[in-house]
Symmetry: D2
Subunit: 317 residues, 4 copies
C-alpha cells in the first residue's frame, strides 16, 4: 500500500538564499549540501530527509515522492498503472538513501515518484540499544522548527479525473467540494489525516503549496514572528486563520523563489474507509475555505509551475 507523502523536490534559483530562509530562519535541519542540492528534514522525521532544494535557472516543482510499504508493492503499482494505460519508468533514484523509484505522470501531468527503500535516521548504538530519538535534540534545533512533512496542494485541470486516479491507486478522499456536475476540489490521502495530496481545479496544472506541521498554534504564530524579525515580513502571505475543510489552523508563507509553504498545526484523523465529507460549492465558499480569518490577498492565487524539463516516463519493462 501507499503509506504517505514522503518527499518533495523543488527547483530554486539561489541555494544560498534558500539555505538562509529554510535552514537559518525556519529551522529545517540541513542533512546534506552538494553543489546542486540542499537535503533537509524536520525534527520528528525518521527519513533522513524529506525536502530537496535543487539549483536551476527557473523555480518550479521538480517532483514529489510517495513511500510505499514494500518493494513488491512497487511492482504491483507499476502493473496497476499499466492496466490504467499510464506509462511508467522504474529507475534507481538519483537521491541519496533512496532505492528503486517508479516515475509516473499524474493525469494533469504532475511528476509523481513512488519508492519503498529510504534510509532512516540512526537512533542509536547499532544493532541494539537506543541513544536517542531524532526529535530529542531540542538543544540544537533552531527556528520554528518544522516537525514533519504533511501534504501538497496541487492545482489540476480536472478534479474528477484526478480523483479517479488517486482513488484507483488506493487513496481515500477525506473531503471534497461539489460544484454542480463536477468536483471543484478534493482532499486525498494515504494516511489517516485529511490529506497527502489536495486537488483544486485550475486551468493549468501547478503546485499551490507544500505543507509542514509545526508544534501547535504557538508554532504557527512563531513562524510569522521569526520571518518578520529576520527581515522577511513579506514572506508572511496569508493567515493565521482557520480553514473549515480539514480544520487546519494555517499560515501561508513564501520562500525566496515564491514557493508557498503552509505552516500548520495538523488536522484531524479519520479512518480511511469512511465516506468522504462533501461540501457544496456554496457551503465551501461560506464556511469551508475559511472558518475564520482575514480576507484572502490576491497573490494567494499565484502558483508554482511544474518544471518543463521533467522527462515523461516511458514504460521500461
Amino acid at each position: 500500500m501507499i503509506l504517505r507523502l514522503g518527499q518533495i523536490e523543488l527547483y530554486v534559483t539561489d541555494l544560498a538564499e534558500s539555505e538562509k530562509f529554510y535552514v537559518d530562519t525556519l529551522g529545517f535541519i540541513k542533512v546534506n549540501k552538494t553543489d546542486e542540492s540542499l537535503y533537509l528534514k524536520a525534527t520528528d522525521e525518521f527519513d533522513i530527509y524529506t525536502l530537496v532544494l535543487t539549483k536551476r535557472e527557473e523555480a518550479s516543482l521538480a517532483s514529489f515522492g510517495l513511500r510505499v510499504s514494500s518493494e513488491e508493492y512497487l511492482d504491483e503499482l507499476e502493473k496497476k498503472h499499466h492496466e490504467m494505460g499510464i506509462e511508467t519508468e522504474m529507475v534507481e533514484s538519483s537521491h541519496p538513501g533512496r532505492g528503486r523509484t517508479l516515475r509516473v505522470a499524474e493525469p494533469s501531468g504532475h511528476p509523481v515518484e513512488f519508492y519503498h527503500a529510504m534510509e532512516q535516521v540512526d537512533v542509536g548504538k547499532g544493532a541494539m540499544g537506543v541513544d536517542k530519538l531524532p526529535m530529542r535534540n531540542t538543544h540544537i534545533f533552531n527556528g520554528i522548527p518544522p516537525v514533519r512533512i504533511d501534504h501538497m496542494n496541487l492545482r489540476v485541470t480536472d478534479v474528477d479525473k484526478a480523483w479517479e486516479y488517486w482513488e484507483a491507486i488506493g487513496f481515500s478522499i477525506s473531503e471534497f467540494v461539489q460544484d454542480g456536475d463536477e468536483k471543484f476540489a478534493a482532499w486525498t490521502r494515504a494516511k489517516t489525516s485529511t490529506h497527502d495530496v489536495a486537488l483544486v481545479k485550475q486551468d493549468e496544472a501547478a503546485l499551490h503549496h507544500i505543507a509542514y506541521i509545526v508544534d501547535g498554534v504557538a508554532g504557527v504564530v512563531r513562524t510569522a514572528d521569526l520571518l518578520a524579525d529576520a527581515g522577511y515580513r513579506d514572506a508572511v502571505e496569508y493567515g493565521p486563520g482557520r480553514h473549515g475543510v480539514s480544520n487546519a489552523f494555517f499560515l501561508y508563507i513564501r520562500d525566496p523563489d515564491g514557493h508557498r509553504i503552509e505552516i500548520y498545526s495538523g488536522d484531524y484523523n479519520r479512518d480511511t474507509d469512511l465516506p468522504p465529507i462533501g461540501w457544496t460549492k456554496e457551503d465551501y465558499d461560506a464556511n469551508g475555505r475559511l472558518w475564520w480569518g482575514p480576507s484572502v490577498p490576491d497573490r494567494f492565487f499565484e502558483t508554482t509551475p511544474v518544471n518543463k524539463d521533467w522527462v515523461k516516463p516511458k514504460i521500461n519493462n
Copy 2:
C-alpha cells in the same frame, strides 16, 4: 499614586445579548446582575469586578476608572486638578464595592473616575488562612477566559494636550509617534507595562477599544475559534497579528453593540522612569503599527462614542 486602569463601564443596548457574548462565549465571570447592569471580572483579578455593562438606548462609553494607592492620594489628585484648572466632582460611587470617586473630564472630554476603595475577592477562611486564590477555579471557568484588564485606547482631538494632562497626574509615556510638529499617538501608563491609556489622534474624542489580557498566543487564537464556533464569526474583526509598538500579539473583536475589545497576550515591562521610545510617523507606518499581519479592514477605524448624558463634573468643594 495612580496604580492602574481598574474599571470600565460600557453602555449596551441589550443585556441578554451582552451576557451571551461576554459571559457564555468569552468566559467573563458574571459577578452580579441587576436589572440595569452586568458586573464582570476576569480570572486573575482580585477586584470583585472590572467591567460593567449597563443597559441604555444607545451604545457608548459610560466612563472608566483608575485605582489610586490611598484615600489621601485621591484628595491630592483633586487638588492637582484644581491647580490645573480642571473641574472635578467627588462622589460616592454608584457601583457596588467601590468607595469615594473623583470624577474628571479629560482634556478631550473623556469621562475619567479615580477611586481607591474597591472590594476584593475573598481568598479564604476569614482573617487568617487561605482557601484558594481567585484564578484557581479553572474547573468552573469557560470561554477564553480573559485573565485581566489591561488598557483602553482613546481617540483624542489633541494628543499633545492629552499627553500633558496624563503626565501631569503622574503617568509615564512608554512609546509615542511624532508626526511633524505634533504627536500622532502616545501610550501612557501608571503600571510598568506599555499602557493603561493609549491616545491616538482623531477629529472627535471616542473610544477605540478596551483590552483584556489572555493566556498567551493560544488564548488569542482560541478567542477567534470560540467566536466562529459560537456563530459570531463577524465579531472577529482584525488579526491575529503583531504590533510593532508595544510588541502586542493581538486580535480585535467586536461585541454585539460594536464595542471593540483587544484580546492580547500582554506586552513588555519597562521601568516608568525611563524616557519614552519615539517613532517617527514614517517608522510607525512602516513597522510600528504592524510588525506583521493582515492588512487593516476599513471597519477597524469605527469607534465607540462617549456617552452624551455624562454630566460634566463641577468643582464641589
Copy 3:
C-alpha cells in the same frame, strides 16, 4: 486490516462520581447516559463514542475494541484466529451504534473485541452539505478537553507470546525492551503512532492505563490544574514528565475507581513497515522509561484487574 483502538469499556462502581470526574471536570463529552452506562467521546472523534463506563459492583476492565476496515476483514480475522487455535465468538454488539463484533481472548486473557460498523457523528445537513466538524464546538466544550483516544497499556504474563499474537493479526511493533532472553515490554500498533496496545510484563494480566491525547503540553498541564482546582489533587498520580520510549510528554491520573488515565500530547509517527526500535533493559532503565521527570511513586505500579465475569468466547461458527 485493523485500523486502531476504537473503544474501551471500564466497569465503575458509581456512575454519578464517574460523571462528575470524566464529564464535569475532564470535559469528556457525554453522548448518552442509560441506567447502566455513560457513553463518552473526545472532541475530535468522529465515532459517536469511544469510552463506555458501566456500573458494576467491582471496578475492572470490561473490554476494549479495535476497529477494522471492513465486514469482510472481520470474517478474515475470525478465520485467522481459528487457524491460530484461538476461540472466537461473533455477536451483535450490545453497544449502541456498533455492529457485528468478534470477541476474542488475547493470550494473557485480555478481553478483545473487533468490529467494523460504528455510527459516526453527523457533520451536517444530510446527504450533502456540511454544517460543522465535531471539533468545531469549542464554545460548548469544558475541561481539558480530551482530543482523541490513543492507546491502552496492558500488563501481560508473557510479552513474547503477546507480541507473537499481535503481530500475527497485523500489528507492527514500534519499540520494545529486551531483557536477556525475553521481552520486557513492546509497543504495538495498527496506526502509525507508537502504540494502540502496549504490552508490559507482569505476573498477572491487568490494565495499567488507558490514554487520551490532549492539546499539547498546555493541555497536559491544564489537566493537573483542573483536577487540583476541583478538589481532586490526589488524582494527579505521576508527572508531568517525558518518556524516552514513544517520546510522550505524560501525566498519569486516577479516576474515582482507581482506573489510570494517561493524559498526553501525542507521540511520533513512523511507518509501520519499519523494524522496531529495540532498547536493552539497561538502556530502558536509564533513559527509556524516563527521559526526564520526577521519580516514580509506588502506587504507579497498581493496576486495574480484568473483569472476572467476562465470558470467554467459544467458537460459534
Copy 4:
C-alpha cells in the same frame, strides 16, 4: 521608590561550563564576556544585562541589585538606612553600564546593592526612530529562552526581622506564612507581581534560588526537554508543578555549580497597597507550598552560601 530586582551576581567556578549551560543551552543572551565575568540578559529586558556570572574559587551568591527610580531616591535610601542604624557604602559600580551604587547588608547579612543608572538596550536609529525592540530578535534567540528576571528566594535567620527591614524601605508583602508567634516565610515586592525577594526561615542565611520568567507553560516544559536533550538531565531538580502561594507553575533546575534557578511562567498581579494574604503554617503545608505536583526531593533543601569575601559596607559619608 525601589522599582524591582534588577541584577544578580553569582560566583561560579568555571566560566566555560557556565557559558555552555546558561548561553548555549538555556538561551541567555551573552552580552559581554571578560576574563572574569559573563554578562547575560533575557530576551525582553531593556537593561543591557541582569545576570553576572563571575569566576571564583568557590560558588556563592556575590550580591544582588535593586533598581530605584532616581539618583535622589538613592540618597534618600541611604539616609533611611542610617536612620535604621544600618551601615551603607556608596560606590561607583564595578559593573559596566551601572552608576552610583549603595551597598547594604540586609539584616541576615545578604549583600544588597541599590542603583539607579543602568545602561539600556539601544532600540533604534538614534535620537528618534525605532529599529526594533529587544525581544524582536526571535530569529537569533536559542534555548528556552528566558524572558525576564523576576525574583530571588533568600533563606534568612529571622523572617520577622527581615520583613520589618524590607517593609521599611518600601516593599509590600504579597503573601506570608504564620507559624505560631513568628513568620515562617514572606513574599516581598517592589513591583506588582508576588515577589522580588522571598524570605524563608533557615538557620543560616543563604540563597535558595533566583527566578527567570519564560513564555508560558510550554516554556517551562521546554526547559526540562532542553536540559535532558543536552545531557543535563540531573539539572532538572524539581517539578514541573504548581505552587499554591504565588500560583507559580514552576520548574527548579541546578546550574553546573549547584545554583538553583526557578524557571516559571510568571504569577499574578495585585496592587501593592493591599494587605498581604496570610497562610497558617498548616494551610501552607497542605496547599500553599504545593497546589499539585511531585513530592519534594531532598536536595531541594540545599542552598547557595553567601560569599564570605563580601566586604560589609561601612558608612562612608
